[in-house]
């Protein structure tokens, strides 16, 4: 039967040519990074600017910072805030999104706030948090900023996920006598999972942004504080070194969400998954 062939071809990459196949899937991505680093290095050396240090110098500075112990403590501090902020956003965001998706009245009531806050520059709320939570412990303020950055994109995607559940599937559930509760947990929620996770992935990127922006504003904790102080000392290598680290942290965090996503939605056809990544 042709079905066996069809399943086998799933997920198998077409045979490529030349050096791009060397590292398998990693190949082109890794090559892109190497080319980027080399270009940066060359450009910085040719265009000799004090605020555009070459890649090697930034890398050296990063090792120095890590060696001095300045990075590790602040990184752990930042990641802790990120974890709390993201978890809060995920739980609250999915809950609110589900309610909005399931009940038109809830959506009508909250819609305008969600879209307003989605487009609003969330950092303007940092001083408000600061005033509320006080300057002694900046953690609640940073977490507040992270939540504001993250939660609305999670809500919007969850609403879309719940709303876009295939009609025939819901009718199937009804015709096989599903109660409202069964309909929700056995059909609507699993069917909405891909879009909910798309929201969580985007949310993770925004959470890292919120974390750094919040820390830079409050300027006494975390990686954001390290960047700010390096900036004040006109330490371009330092700023770029921490930025590099932040990007790596962000990519790893998004990757973690992605791994969970792939495990939960392995049933999606390979083609639509590719489309989602693009």
């Amino acid at each position: 039967m042709s079905v066996a062939a069809a399943t086998r071809s799933r997920g198998v990459h077409p045979p490529g040519l030349g050096p791009f196949t060397l590292g398998g899937r990693l190949g082109p991505g890794f090559l892109g990074l190497v080319i980027g680093a080399v270009l940066w290095e060359m450009l910085a050396r040719v265009w000799d600017q004090p605020f555009f240090p070459p890649f090697s110098a930034v890398l050296m500075r990063l090792f120095e910072l890590v060696g001095s112990g300045l990075i590790i403590g602040n990184l752990i501090n930042s990641l802790f805030n990120l974890f709390i902020g993201f978890t809060l956003s995920a739980v609250l965001g999915v809950t609110i999104g589900v309610l909005m998706g399931a009940y038109t009245k809830v959506e009508m009531a909250l819609d305008v706030y969600v879209y307003a806050m989605l487009t609003a520059p969330s950092l303007v709320f940092a001083p408000v948090f600061f005033a509320i939570f006080g300057a002694n412990d900046p953690r609640p303020s940073v977490i507040g900023v992270i939540v504001l950055y993250t939660i609305f994109i999670v809500i919007v995607n969850t609403v879309a996920g719940i709303r876009n559940v295939n009609r025939p599937l819901i009718e199937m559930g009804r015709s096989y006598l599903a109660s409202d509760r069964q309909l929700f947990f056995k059909i609507i929620l699993p069917a909405a999972t891909p879009l909910i996770f798309a929201g969580l992935r985007l949310g993770m990127g925004r959470a890292v942004k919120g974390m750094i922006n919040g820390e830079m504003f409050i300027a006494i904790v975390g990686l954001g504080a390290v960047v700010t102080s390096a900036g004040k000392r006109f330490d371009a290598e330092g700023v770029l070194a921490v930025l590099l680290l932040i990007i790596v942290v962000a990519l790893i965090c998004v990757k973690i969400v992605q791994i969970i996503d792939v495990r939960l939605t392995s049933w999606l056809p390979a083609t639509s998954k590719k489309r989602r990544r693009a």
Binding site: A6, E171, S175, Y176, L177, K186
Partner: protein
């Protein structure tokens, strides 16, 4: 054959459509649509009924009302004397779009109706396995629907419906999305399964051949407003599952399909509304 028919004649009425009317309210600039008008029709226990008509004749609406998925405006639908107010355990539906849960294994899809009814896991998997075998999908029970062809997916849909052991199978153009060869195979298998189980089947189709091949009686519907124009007895012997090729070559089969096509064609070319419009137009020109 005569034996089967005699049996059917004795069988009691199971489903009654009683002056059923359904109007889809106006939406935007569109006029309200009279999907069903005064549809009255009885179906006997164990009958295989095919419903045939051009698109827009309300045949799917009729089935959805019987399934309890759609409200109606007036008249009544009764199953075993009880008015239909919603979905029930006595009816199971097979969907044109298959409506399988893409995240659930075949066995879990087949067992879904039983799961919703609280049948214990071991028992429902046991039953699901037997039906997976019946529809010829043994070995695929741990696969996901996405790994199956359309024909195989609809076998899963059929197994899921049979798993809850309904009295009535509701089939909404179940083979409409399949290619010709797959459809032929599934028609044969459906006939074999029906011959063995004798459930009451209401089967919606837009194919004349399919309607004749499968049905004891063909309900012929016409659009705008959707109504029953005729109920055609199919005088072909049963069982048919093993003799499909002979049936299709027979003059009887050719005569019925030709007659059906003649009437369907007329319906679509000369709808009353079209004829009236032409007349009105002519009158306007004349005056």
């Amino acid at each position: 054959m005569s034996e089967v028919r005699a049996l059917n004649d004795q069988a009691k009425t199971l489903i009654e459509f009683d002056r059923l009317c359904k109007i889809f309210p106006a939406r935007g600039d569109d006029e309200p649509v009279e999907a069903l008008k005064d549809v009255s029709f009885d179906i006997k226990d164990g009958e295989f009924i095919t419903v045939l008509g051009p698109s827009g004749c309300g045949k799917t609406t009729l089935l959805r009302i019987l399934a309890g998925l759609e409200q109606f405006d007036s008249g009544d639908v009764r199953v075993d004397g009880q008015s239909v107010t919603g979905p029930g355990p006595d009816r199971a539906m097979v969907f044109q779009s298959f409506a399988l849960m893409p995240w659930a294994k075949i066995i879990d899809n087949v067992a879904f109706g039983l799961e919703l009814r609280g049948v214990p896991k071991a028992e429902r998997e046991d039953r699901a396995m037997r039906l997976i075998e019946l529809v010829g999908l043994k070995g695929f029970e741990r696969r996901l629907p996405g790994a199956l062809s359309g024909g195989m997916q609809q076998r899963v849909g059929l197994a899921r419906a049979l798993a809850v052991d309904p009295r009535i199978l509701l089939m909404d153009e179940p083979f409409g999305a399949l290619d010709e060869q797959t459809r032929r195979l599934l028609q044969e298998e459906l006939l074999a399964i029906w011959e063995a189980s004798r459930k009451t089947v209401i089967f919606i189709t837009h194919s004349m051949e399919e309607a004749v091949l499968l049905g004891d009686r063909i309900v012929l519907m016409s659009p705008r407003p959707g109504r029953i124009v005729d109920v055609v007895d199919v005088p072909l012997a049963r069982p048919r599952s093993t003799t499909i090729d002979t049936i299709e070559g027979s003059p009887e089969f050719a005569a019925i399909t030709a007659d059906l096509w003649h009437r369907l064609r007329e319906m679509q070319l000369f709808r009353p509304s079209t004829a009236e419009a032409v007349e009105a137009d002519a009158a306007r020109v004349a005056s």
